[in-house]
Symmetry: D2
Subunit: 134 residues, 4 copies
C-alpha cells in the first residue's frame, strides 16, 4: 500500500481544474468547503482511471480530515494527487494532496465505506481492492 501518496502516484495529478470565480469568497481565497468538492472529483477520477467508477457512486463518507497549509485563489489551477492509503473490510482511506503552482495548500484523508442497495456496508470485492491499490 502507498506510504507516500505523492511519490508513489503517477507523474501527473489525479484531477486538476482552474479555480472557478465563484469558488473564491470575499476574502479572495477558495472557500473551505470547496476542498471537499475537489477531493470528490479526484476520487471519482481515481476510480474512473481504474475502471471502477461505479464504486464512486456507492460510497458514503464516514470521516474526513483536512489540514490547510495555504490558500488557492482565482487564477490558480488546483491539482489533486489521490492515493489509497488503507483497505478495510468494507471501507478504505484515500489521501489527497491539493496543490497550486504556488505550492501545497491542503492535505485531506477521507474514509469511505462501500454500501449496498440497502445502504448498509458491504465488503469490498476483490477486483475493487486490487484496483484501489494497483
Amino acid at each position: 500500500m502507498a506510504t507516500d501518496p505523492v511519490r508513489s502516484g503517477p507523474t501527473g495529478p489525479t484531477w486538476s481544474a482552474p479555480v472557478r470565480y465563484a469558488e473564491a469568497d470575499q476574502q479572495g481565497v477558495v472557500f473551505n468547503a470547496h476542498y471537499l468538492l475537489y477531493c470528490d472529483e479526484a476520487v471519482g477520477a481515481f476510480c474512473a482511471q481504474r475502471g471502477i467508477l461505479a464504486v464512486a457512486e456507492r460510497v458514503m463518507l464516514v470521516d474526513s480530515h483536512l489540514r490547510w497549509s495555504g490558500s488557492a485563489r482565482w487564477g490558480d489551477v488546483v491539482a489533486v494527487h489521490a492515493s489509497c492509503e488503507r483497505l478495510g473490510t468494507s471501507s478504505f482511506d484515500m489521501h489527497f494532496v491539493i496543490r497550486t503552482d504556488a505550492g501545497e495548500c491542503c492535505r485531506v484523508t477521507t474514509t469511505y465505506v462501500l454500501v449496498g442497495e440497502d445502504d448498509r456496508p458491504t465488503p469490498l470485492p476483490d477486483e475493487v481492492r486490487a484496483a484501489l491499490t494497483g
Copy 2:
C-alpha cells in the same frame, strides 16, 4: 391570475434567508447564479404552503429571465415574493421579486413544465391549477 405579484402576495415573503458567507464572491456581492437558487427555494416554499410540494419535484425549467437592479451582500437578508403569473396546459410561469432591506435587487420570471414518470410534459391537474393561483 396575479397581475402584480407583490401587491397580490401575502404580507410576508414566500421565502427568506440571511445571505450565506460563501454566497458572496470576491466583488463582495452575491454571485449571480445564487439568485436562481433563491428562486428554487421560493417555488418549493410556494408549493409547500399550498399543499402541492410534490409538484416542485416534478417540474423542469424551460425558460428563466433575470433582471437585476441591485446586489445582495453578506449581512443582508434576502426575501423572495413568489406568485404564479400564467397557467398553460402543462406549464406555468412564476414571478419572483427578490429584495433586501436596502430595496429590490432582482426580478425573475421562470417557466416550469410538469413532467411525468417518462420525463415528458403532462397536463397540470385541476387541483394543482387551483393551488398555484389560489
Copy 3:
C-alpha cells in the same frame, strides 16, 4: 458583430468541463443555477483568450435569459460556445450555447455592464470593444 454565435465562433468551445458529481441534483440532472456558473466561466475564458481578463472582474450582470432544451448529467462534458452579440456604450450582450455530446441543452443571453471604481457604469474602452467583437 456576430449574428450566429455558433457558426461564427472558433472550432472548439470557449470553455468546457466534465459535469461535477455535486452539480447534479436528486432528479439526476444538473441543477438549473449551475448553467449561470458555466456561463460565468465561459465569459472569463472568452475575455482571457482576448487579453481582457480584467474586464471579467469589473462587470455586473443586469439581465440574463436562459432557455433550456435539454439536461446535462453527471458523466457528460459540458461545452460552452460564447460570442459577443451586441455592444452598447457601457454594456454588452454575450450569447452562450451550452452543449453536451447528446446535443444542445441551454442557450443564454446575458447583458453585462462595465463598472468603474465607484461601481457606476463606465464606457467600454475602444480596445475592449475591439477585443469583444474581434
Copy 4:
C-alpha cells in the same frame, strides 16, 4: 471550557436551516462538502451572538475533522450546535454537532486562526477570548 458542547450549549441550536433542494446530490443525501458550509454559518452565528462577528471575517481554517454518523436529506431541517473547545494564543477550536429530527448526522472539530491585515496569525484579544468561551 466546554467539555460537552451539546450539554453546555444553549437550549436551541446555534444555527439552523431547512436543507436546500440543490444541496442533495443524486444519492438523495446532502453532499458532503455542504456540512462545512453549515459549520461556517454556525461559527458566524456563534460570533454574531457574542458581539464578535468581525472575528468570523478574519479567521482562516487550518484543520477540520468531520465524522458522519448519518445523512441529512431534502425535507430535513439541519440544526448545528457550536461551542468553543479550546483557546490557543492565536487559534481556537470549535466543535459542531449537526442534527436533523432523525438524529445526529455529523460532528466536526475545526481549528481557526485569527489573522491580521498581513494575513499572519495575531493573538486573540482578551475580549474575543472571553466572548468565545462565555
